[in-house]
Symmetry: C2
Subunit: 139 residues, 2 copies
Amino acid sequence: MKNESRRNFVKTAAAAAASLPLATVSSVESKPKAMKSVFVHQVYFWLKNPDSTADRDKLVEGLKTLTKIKEIKSWHIGIPAGTSRDVIDGSYSISWLNTLKDRAAQDAYQVHPIHTAFVDNYKHLWNKVVVYDAVDVPL
Amino acid sequence: MKNESRRNFVKTAAAAAASLPLATVSSVESKPKAMKSVFVHQVYFWLKNPDSTADRDKLVEGLKTLTKIKEIKSWHIGIPAGTSRDVIDGSYSISWLNTLKDRAAQDAYQVHPIHTAFVDNYKHLWNKVVVYDAVDVPL
């Protein structure tokens, strides 16, 4: 490599190394990030035995199997946060949130063998489930 | 710069430039990403006039003001996805999802002037609102 081209390569590589992590950090931390072009699949489960930690752990075990489904972009397994204003429904046992690329990905998720096995193996634990599916509002 | 140290710098910078973007891409695209250490604030609105596109647009305008609140990490404004299994509630008009760092951030969001102004200025549009707050299940 000639000295001139080596210098240019050094500049380019150094600039890339310096700028990329900074860009990543600022986009994640500095301002609220819009989730766009996603399908939001939000599920709330009410356990038959809401006071049973064993049943809750079992359902969480089942939900964790779903996190292997590659159509999922991001996921969260939650419990009520303990907030209590009059508009808040904190009566559910477990929340299961995931985002996917689009409706086709959600359809694939629904019929995925891991998902159908989850329903078969864990549905005895809950007596109510409510699902809210959302796509981006046209802006 | 001596040849040897220049070579090492080239190697280091090139390795950094090559590895960082790859790491970023793989964490975003290759496997489902866990949302951990977050407070998930999920709100569903039912409009008084659910068939009014003008009212829906107005509410979306209001929700967009909330996206300036710096406590929010990520957000999504949605509409029902058109799915229709028996467990799905697709009767709401607009969904408003956001994630925050923790309960303290959510408490700050609730009393933020932009949020209180939103409630004052747009509450005439809805006749029902349901909120689900969730924190990470202990794993």
